[in-house]
């Protein structure tokens, strides 16, 4: 599917404008997704991280991963409500960027913080629900990310592929639990994120989804697929 299919295009000039707009939009998306990482590296270089830089970097990469995951989850509802099918194409890059930040988050935790000390890591993951939830969410995200790449669906089998694409839906609540359990006090940001995720998941209720889908010319592909 072409990324910039906005609907009927009668004139070549109009098409070119839309192509240019689509390219700019995609570039903007990549720049915006990479900006938090660039800012983190800059702050580290400039010595502007917290006095507890590992905690700071862990928190920031985790927050960015969650924000990108929420944006990825918002794509389907946005398309269903707006009818702009072309938006569907941003779901995968958003999801993959969420995965990137989750990977850095996990790297900081396991390598920079725990120094790959297996005794402490094993205890943290097996005995502490926040770490277990985080790891479970990571595995689910990894499944969705890996099977979103070309070449995977055929040999995985349609059914499993579909479940792996839906795994991203389960990852979001797990990420929320992970962050709620890791902190001493729950702030209004936690509450807002939880409400937002719940709201976005409501659009996955089959009856509501079908009702909204009827207004589109053809049904949307399932989660994560282009």
């Amino acid at each position: 599917m072409r990324a910039w299919t906005f609907g009927r295009t009668s004139e070549a000039a109009g098409l070119r404008t839309k192509q240019a707009f689509g390219t700019a939009f995609r570039l903007g998306l990549h720049a915006a997704s990479l900006a938090p990482l660039a800012l983190l590296l800059y702050d580290d270089w400039a010595g502007r991280l917290s006095f507890n830089p590992i905690e700071d970097a862990t928190r920031r990469t985790g927050q960015t991963a969650l924000a990108l995951l929420i944006l990825a989850l918002a794509v389907t509802p946005l398309v269903l409500v707006s009818g702009r099918r072309s938006l569907m194409t941003v779901a995968r890059p958003l999801g993959l960027y969420a995965m990137l930040y989750a990977s850095i988050h996990l790297f900081i935790f396991a390598v920079l913080d725990y120094g790959v000390r297996l005794d402490l890591l094993r205890e943290a993951v097996l005995e502490k629900p926040y770490a277990l939830m985080g790891l479970a969410a990571f595995v689910l995200l990894l499944a969705t990310a890996a099977t979103s790449l070309r070449g995977w669906p055929p040999w995985l089998g349609r059914r499993w592929w579909r479940w792996s694409q839906r795994a991203v839906l389960a990852a979001a609540p797990l990420v929320l639990l992970h962050s709620l359990w890791a902190v001493k006090v729950i702030t209004s940001t936690h509450v807002a994120y939880t409400a937002l995720v719940a709201f976005l998941l409501v659009f996955r209720v089959p009856s509501l989804r079908r009702r909204l889908e009827r207004r589109l010319s053809e049904p949307l592909p399932r989660e994560g697929a282009e």
């Binding site: 983190l40 590296l41 580290d44 270089w45 010595g47 502007r48 991280l49 917290s50 006095f51 507890n52 830089p53 590992i54 905690e55 700071d56 970097a57 850095i104 790297f107 900081i108 390598v111 920079l112 913080d113 725990y114 120094g115 790959v116 000390r117 402490l120 205890e123 943290a124 005995e127 502490k128 629900p129 926040y130 359990w181 890791a182 001493k184 006090v185 702030t187």
Partner: protein, 313 residues
Amino acid sequence: MKDIDRSEITPEHLFLSRRKFMLGAAALAGAALLPGCGDRGGGSNTQTTVSPGPVGATTDELGQALTSFEAVTGYNNFYEFTVDKDSVADLARDFATRPWTVEVAGLVARPQVLPIDELLAEFPERERIYRMRCVEAWSMVIPWLGFPLRLLLDQVVPQPQARYVRFVAIDAPERLPGQRKYSFDWPYTEGLRLDEAMNDLTLIATGLYGKQLLPQNGAPLRLVVPWKYGFKSIKSIVRIELVQDRPATFWSSSAPHEYGFYANVNPEVDHPRWSQKSERRIGETGRRDTLPFNGYGEEVAGLYEGMDLRKDF
């Protein structure tokens, strides 16, 4: 008290360079970094700033280096201002700690209301270098100035039925944004058993790094109980009260299953949601093993003989 000269404190550019922890380099190095990470004996320790204190000691009794003055005064848990540890210093900058009076009352023969400067004049400061272990699993080594709480308690003469000491922090929502913003049961309160309070390690701190205490560290006076998690060391105290029954305390009232009255540092008793076996020393990368009673077992383990420290956590 001997003040250290401002120039003796680590210059800002040196300290800033220490705050970089090479996230970028580490991320690029990737797997190449793996073998050395578990070893905390090497270069990582050298990141801790050593600034001279008034008596010249640069390590604690275990040879662990002092945490930099900048980190000690720039990274604070003080919810009366904000829950953001890096922002407390800014918000507390103009917090006035004069006039200030401390009331010592309750079951005592000679209750007192002491203006802070009288109290400071009465109890000469000495330096104590203590490890501080936060319940959030980070730690510092801090050169405090202060005097043992015992000296103050001896002066007011506790009555025989006094069994606990209750501490109350300042309650001033108009000056403390956190008290307006967060719905905790303000003011902050803490408590110790009388024998814990009389232990020689238990300090009333009035300064650190040879200087008067700054607001973000709990000026003008705070408690320091080094073998307990940091939240026991209540800041900006206005009232010390001897009581018969175990007093309610801020965190144990807020989440009783997570924070106990005793709150002794104990690697064997985890927080319900995270491990207490290891800690991150501010200024270092990697983790240190957490010591029972934060390394002060010799001095204080006797206080808890026969107690089940899992139950009385």
